[in-house]
């Protein structure tokens, strides 16, 4: 009915096996047992092991230290000084001797996440049990399934082909959507359910997170599961349509993307895949290169613009066009080598952009002074 292809049972089970086999292992230890060496290594249980950036950030979050402060401390002193500072803070915390943390390690023995004890980690086996229960309760069909091979993190998009999940936007007859859910399980955040929307005209998928439809599940203890299912049931009453989505789409259609917004989207796409050497290769999806050339022809080099200036620099692309470029790249075969899991992250990033409280150019108004020549623009910029 939707024209969207659902995953076969065989493929679903194959991905499930991959997820279970590549799943990171975790263990809860006393916090005092862990010492930071530098931003790439920690010592615990007498051994020095590698640690990822995400895991270090997790430690800082538990210790309530902004990362910027730590990096400044490192710049001001040394790597050893920074490590001493962090370890001193860690060991000075109130009740630090009673505190525990959960370390998550990938198959190579690298720490990929550090969480507060018992939180932020749900095994993939339990995740799949919950996914199956949700699929049964809400008649959901999986359409995408990606696994991060380094950590076993999983992202599944699923749709419900019931009537409530199809919707349009009044006044925009070409825009038709189908809503569903994205289910994520990652070793640093646990499980989460987010609403997912598929734009039917081109089958682009977007995972929406900023419309207050983010349902986290960091633990299965203490009534958390009941609360989670209750929240999901509430979302299901509205066919999983994210509240405020249609308004956000209208705003995105009616607003030009700023240079900063276009650049951010292009950068995210470029980082997602291998061999995307420059932004010209992405013109088909995000015309950042074309926009940059237009500015250069007008005598303005975007590379010399400050971030604030980029936020005020309009482009010929609407926010909606930019988002669709991103979701099209994420959802379809684009000729580049892009890991499935990174595609899901792009869909989620697109949702974050759409859910912004206000786009950069949204509050621009037409002034009596807008209709000016290129020479006048150059003269203005000379100051």
């Amino acid at each position: 009915m939707s024209g969207i292809t659902s995953l076969s049972d065989e493929l679903f089970n194959q991905r499930k096996r991959e997820a279970l086999n590549s799943e990171a292992k975790f263990k809860t230890i006393p916090m005092y047992d862990l010492e930071l060496v530098d931003m790439q290594h920690v010592i615990f249980e007498g051994r020095k092991v590698g640690i990822t950036r995400a895991a270090v950030k997790g430690l800082f979050k538990i210790l309530n230290i902004p990362e910027k402060i730590v990096l400044r401390f490192e710049q001001a002193t040394s790597v050893e000084g920074m490590a001493k500072f962090v370890n001193m803070l860690k060991n000075s915390m109130k009740n630090s001797s009673d505190m525990s943390i959960t370390l998550v390690a990938n198959a190579q023995g690298q720490i990929v996440a550090i969480n507060s004890a018992g939180k932020g980690v749900i095994t993939n086996e339990s995740f799949f049990d919950i996914v199956e229960r949700l699929a049964d309760n809400h008649k959901l069909t999986p359409i995408d399934f990606s696994v991060n091979p380094d950590t076993g993190a999983v992202a599944i998009n699923a749709i419900n082909e019931g009537d409530g999940s199809f919707f349009g936007i009044s006044g925009l007859k070409d825009e038709k959507f189908m809503s569903g859910i994205t289910l994520l399980n990652s070793p640093n955040k646990g499980m989460a359910l987010k609403t997912y929307v598929n734009r039917l005209s081109c089958a682009n998928g977007i995972t929406t997170t900023g419309f207050n439809e983010d349902v986290p599940l960091p633990t299965l203890d203490g009534g958390a599961l009941e609360k989670f299912y209750g929240q999901v049931d509430e979302l299901a009453k509205n066919g999983f349509q994210p509240n405020g989505f249609t308004d956000a789409v209208r705003r995105a259609i009616g607003t030009k993307a700023s240079y900063a917004e276009l650049e951010k989207i292009a950068n995210a796409i470029q980082k997602s895949g291998k061999s995307i050497d420059d932004i010209y290769m992405l013109n088909k999806w995000i015309p950042l290169a074309e926009t940059m050339d237009s500015y250069k022809r007008a005598g303005i080099d975007p590379l010399t613009m400050s971030q604030a200036q980029k936020k005020n620099a309009s482009t010929g692309t609407t926010v909606w066009q930019a988002i669709n470029g991103m979701t099209h790249f994420a959802t379809h075969n684009n000729g580049f080598e892009v890991k499935d899991y990174n595609r899901r992250i792009l869909q989620k990033t697109a949702g974050d952009v759409l859910a912004k409280k206000s786009f950069d150019m949204e509050n621009q108004i037409v002034t009596p002074y807008d209709n000016i020549s290129i020479e006048d623009i150059q003269a203005k910029n000379a100051f």
Partner: protein, 349 residues
């Protein structure tokens, strides 16, 4: 004065007389004891409440078992009497002989219940208030002598006070009387040889806990509470030798077809969630073991690699191998490969 002297003399006389047992103790093994299978029958009303009271995991039977005793407490207005009268009415429909001993409510008070729950009409009720001038002990003995399968007493404290008032018993003696009567009928010592089960509603302390002695607690099979939780109400067992504890059964007193609205769906969901949480605990333990194994293997591998590096260095120094060969050997090591591995492109892992 004379009365006091008489009593004092009576106590002295009793103290002077050597005490003797009135029965011969029956000390034997359980191998010599014969159980009546009827004693283990369940009064299953087919509701989730029946399952909460008691369920036999091996046979699947559920419902209040004969010869068992329960005490329930609850917040005011939570529906203690309604919930338990419903159990009585449902058990009666399935053939159980039931009795309600009302120490708190009168016939007029009951009218409101009958309007909402017509099925309560058929339950035999003893209104204690109608026998204020009669000795309550004899009254209870006579009524119970007929033999019942399931008796509800509301409340234990009111019945106890009736005994104190009408029989001049002390409070402790009154409690003992009720317990002894309970045990007597549990054992089937009545005309119908019914192994009677009892449920007593009990009052709460100001702190919200059960009023009663340890003796009373020890003679109960289970204790349950009925509480408010926001706009909801639930029943939960805090002690239960025959069924589940710590599981909440939510309900609504708004009668649907003359029945209490039990939230069975939520109960089953909670069960599933509990099982999932327990499964997750076991999986977490396994993951912790796997974590340890992973790092033990890594330690062994690191040691091996350290030896290889050391050996390559020695062989290079001695001229046994050249630089190119040394680099080739070192590149085979896992630790070198790890440093080259690309990290995930985003912070979300």
């Amino acid at each position: 004065m004379a009365e006091r002297t008489r009593k004092r003399n009576s106590r002295k006389a009793k103290a002077a007389t050597p005490r003797k047992l009135s029965v011969k103790p029956n000390v034997g093994t359980l191998a010599e004891h014969t159980y009546d299978p009827k004693q283990f029958e369940h009064m299953d009303t087919g509701t989730v409440l029946a399952r909460l009271f008691a369920h036999n995991k091996s046979t699947g039977e559920q419902g209040i078992q004969r010869a068992t005793n329960y005490i329930g407490i609850g917040d005011p207005g939570v529906g203690k009497t309604t919930v338990l009268l419903e159990y009585l009415a449902d058990a009666q429909k399935l053939g159980a002989k039931t009795l309600f001993i009302s120490g708190e409510m009168t016939r007029t008070d009951m009218k409101e219940y009958l309007d909402r729950f017509p099925k309560f009409k058929t339950i035999p009720i003893l209104f204690l208030g109608e026998y204020c001038d009669e000795p309550t002990d004899l009254l209870l003995e006579e009524v119970l002598a007929e033999g019942y399968d399931l008796v509800l007493g509301d409340s234990f404290v009111e019945i106890q006070e009736a005994l104190v008032d009408t029989c001049k018993m002390r409070t402790k003696a009154a409690e003992k009387f009720i317990i002894d009567l309970m045990l007597k009928h549990n054992a089937g010592h009545n005309h119908g040889k019914h192994y009677t089960s009892f449920i007593y509603i009990q009052q709460m302390t100001k702190g919200g806990t059960f009023v009663g002695s340890n003796k009373l607690k020890h003679n109960t099979t289970g204790m349950f509470e009925l509480r408010h939780e926001g706009n909801s109400k639930y029943l939960e067992f805090s002690k239960n030798r025959r069924g589940d504890m710590g599981k909440r059964l939510y309900y609504d007193l708004e009668a649907i077809d003359g029945n209490i609205n039990w939230n069975e769906a939520r109960f089953l969901r909670d069960e599933e969630n509990r099982e999932q949480a327990q499964k997750e605990k076991a999986l977490a333990e396994k993951s912790a073991n796997d974590f340890d194994t992973l790092f033990k293997k890594k330690d062994a591998l690191d040691e091996q690699e350290s030896e290889i590096k050391s050996s390559v260095a020695k062989r290079l120094m001695s001229g046994e191998i050249d630089e190119v060969e040394a680099i080739k050997e070192l590149n085979k090591l896992t630790s070198v490969q790890l440093e080259d591995a690309a990290e995930s492109v985003t912070e979300d892992i």
